[in-house]
């Protein structure tokens, strides 16, 4: 078997990787439900790789399934698999690391662009949702929760804090809602409310048990319960997907939308889905932010090409392209001091043009994620004490 004979170790350096990778096909596994992201990989990354003699294959698969797959392979004692690069985050990274599924270290020797654009003491390079990264993954995108409000419905006065939001909701019942967890964005919104009501430190320090967390976030749950009767359908039901919520927002059924993409309002507006009425803002106390990461499974058969792919996706060229609206306008994961000026300019442009939040505001108002282990617990508590209360 040809695959089996291939080295299962990471290459020793980027230049060696480049050489070894020639002619290889690298598979990129990641969520395939964002057409802008897909387009970026297909239109930008793939041609760049082609020039290096590497073929990229994009497989749309949920990280949950990827993890299941990797686990199964490990259980079945399979030494090499088909997955070369995965898009991974937080809780899933925690699991993957715990199960020893990922190859490392992916240091700056292997990924030169890490050194160029990302400072090694950036907290997001050290920890991913509380899990120490240990050079097992590389950031390749920046995500931060932003609120998108209807200018008309809010009269330009956006609720930039939990209290303001409550007041507005009481005055305008039925006009707010949020996506129900376990949706990623919905879950982030709830964490953000926790930050608003009890603060990041409290939840960050809380023990990762149901009891411990409940004690800490009780005020947050109370807040959500107080808000509940003023939500859409009196909070008896919630939208299931962000898309559903987007549609309700677009139809002015609700006044407020959320996104994990800072530039989301811009892309939607250019798509004709949102009108000029959509305006982005963040809470005064800040919003949850995290990075998207790439990792290489231990079983990858094309580790050299995987390394090259990661470096390419992190490159200035690829990231600059990615700022285009048609590629989803994703903010690069570059560290503050190392971001090229051209990119900063572009982001500020967009903020003027599409009413998105300016880059420096965003980075100032960024609150880190809590431990991935706590997230399902919070979701459970929400279900128990908010959704199914009464």
């Amino acid at each position: 078997n040809k695959k089996e004979s291939k080295s299962t170790d990471l290459p020793t350096s980027y230049s060696k990787a480049l050489k070894d990778a020639k002619g290889q096909t690298v598979t990129y596994y990641g969520f395939g439900g964002t057409e802008t992201q897909n387009r970026w990989i297909d239109d930008v990354v793939t041609p760049m790789m082609k020039k290096k003699g590497i073929t990229v294959k994009r497989v749309p698969m949920d990280i949950d399934d990827i993890l299941k797959k990797l686990t199964t392979e490990k259980e079945a004692n399979k030494k090499t698999g088909n997955i070369d690069v995965v898009w991974i985050n937080g809780e899933n990274f925690y699991t993957a690391k715990k199960l020893d599924l990922l190859a490392g270290p992916l240091d700056s020797k292997l990924i030169p662009n890490m050194k160029t654009y990302i400072s090694s003491n950036d907290p997001d390079v050290k920890r991913d949702m509380g899990t120490s990264i240990d050079k097992l993954e590389v950031p390749y995108g920046n995500a931060q929760l932003v609120m998108i409000g209807s200018k008309q419905m809010f009269n330009g006065d956006y609720p930039t804090s939990a209290e303001k939001m409550m007041d507005w909701a009481k005055e305008n019942p039925g006009k707010l809602t949020y996506v129900a967890p376990p949706d990623f964005t919905g879950s982030a919104f709830i964490r953000n409310i926790i930050y608003e009501t009890v603060g990041y430190d409290a939840i960050n320090k809380a023990p990762a048990t149901k009891k411990g967390i409940y004690k800490v976030i009780k005020p947050s749950l109370d807040y959500l319960n107080e808000l509940k009767p003023y939500l859409w359908e009196q909070g008896k039901t919630y939208p299931k997907t962000t898309a559903q919520m987007d549609k309700m927002f677009a139809n002015h059924q609700i006044a407020l939308d959320f996104s994990y993409n800072q530039m989301y309002a811009a892309t939607q507006r250019s798509d004709g889905k949102f009108t000029d009425d959509a305006h982005s803002f963040v809470f005064d106390k800040g919003t949850v932010g995290n990075y998207n990461y790439l990792a290489v499974p231990k079983t990858s058969a094309n580790k050299a090409a995987a390394v090259v792919l990661i470096n390419t996706m992190l490159s200035k060229e690829a990231q600059t392209q990615r700022l285009k609206l048609k590629y989803g306008a994703v903010v690069p994961p570059y560290s503050e001091g190392k971001t090229p000026q051209s990119i900063t300019d572009k982001l500020d442009d967009a903020s003027n043009k599409y009413g998105t939040v300016p880059m420096d505001t965003l980075s100032k108002k960024r609150i880190p994620e809590i431990s991935g282990k706590k997230i399902p617990i919070i979701e459970d508590l929400w279900k128990e004490y908010v959704l199914n209360a009464d």
Binding site: T27, Y29, F31, G32, G33, T34, E35, D42, K57, V59, P60, M61, D62, D65, K68, K69, T71, T72, E73, E75, A76, K78, G81, N82, I83, K240, T241, T242, A243, Q244, K247, A250, N251, H252, Q253, G272, K273
Partner: protein, 263 residues
């Protein structure tokens, strides 16, 4: 029965079936379609064109889907036919149990089962292979195929086969000259269901196919999952075209080759 008394239910049925299809088609080409407008403000084929022509992956995945579906049909029919013959014609010990067994793949929620299937496939060395993928597809098609064939065969009974064998026909000749034509409608149903079930397999294709088989469903599913309506609708329309056209062709071929089905 009078014609008029059936006209109303007929029209109602037609509307209920076709309206959603129409909505999907409009959704796939409409832009700026917001509440409470009844029709999209703009019609644009740009998405379509982009997906169909700028993106050869769509066509690739279409071909992959069909290639898998054809293999699945073959495998399913090979397994389902004899099983259905046994269930439809004969009484034997354990028949009732088997009757339930054939429905198992539907009954057991596939999400969790699939990882275990993946495990088994890896152990057999079939993961990522064509046969591996169509086997898993076939597993989910078998309940439908067997059911439709059994319904059909149990009404015919084996009396014509007996005649054929008595006249000196081999088992194979009997199958092709007697069983097959007599259960044609059941087979047609079975093929149709198999085709569609195979075409819509998502997770099994991905897990067992190891990314070697990126079908239409694999591409489409994430969008629908995430509620990306318009893209999902476009995929849906393409999907619809490529399920309906071949199936109607089969239907046309079957109902026009030879005589109407027996009484």
């Amino acid at each position: 029965m009078k014609k008029s008394s059936r006209l109303f239910p007929f029209l109602l049925f037609v509307i209920l079936v076709l309206m959603p299809l129409l909505v999907i088609v409009m959704l796939s080409v409409g832009r700026n379609w917001n509440y409470p407008q009844l029709l999209p403000r703009q019609i644009s084929l740009s998405y379509f064109i982009e997906l169909l022509f700028d993106n050869k992956e769509l066509l690739d995945s279409l071909v992959t889907s069909i290639v898998l579906a054809l293999g699945t049909i073959g495998l399913t029919v090979i397994i389902a036919y004899p099983t259905a013959i046994a269930l439809g014609y004969y009484d034997f010990r354990g028949k009732k149990l088997l009757n339930i067994l054939v429905y198992l793949p539907l009954i057991i929620p596939s999400t969790a089962l699939l990882t275990n299937m993946d495990f088994v496939m890896i152990k057999f060395g079939l993961n990522g292979s064509y046969f591996g993928v169509i086997s898993v597809h076939a597993l989910f098609c078998l309940p439908y195929a067997i059911k439709l064939l059994v319904d059909n065969l149990s009404l015919i009974n084996d009396r014509y086969e007996i005649v054929s064998r008595n006249m000196g026909a081999s088992a194979i000749q009997t199958f092709f000259h007697i069983t097959l034509p007599l259960s044609r409608s059941g087979l047609q149903g079975a093929v149709m269901m198999t085709y569609i079930v195979s075409m819509t397999q998502y997770l099994s294709t991905l897990l067992i196919g190891e990314g070697n088989y990126i079908t239409l469903s694999v591409r489409m599913f994430p969008f629908t999952q995430d509620g990306k309506y318009q893209i999902a609708a476009i995929y849906g329309v393409i999907f619809m075209l490529f399920t309906l056209i071949p199936l109607y062709l089969i239907d046309f071929y079957i109902s026009h080759s030879g005589r109407r089905v027996i009484r």
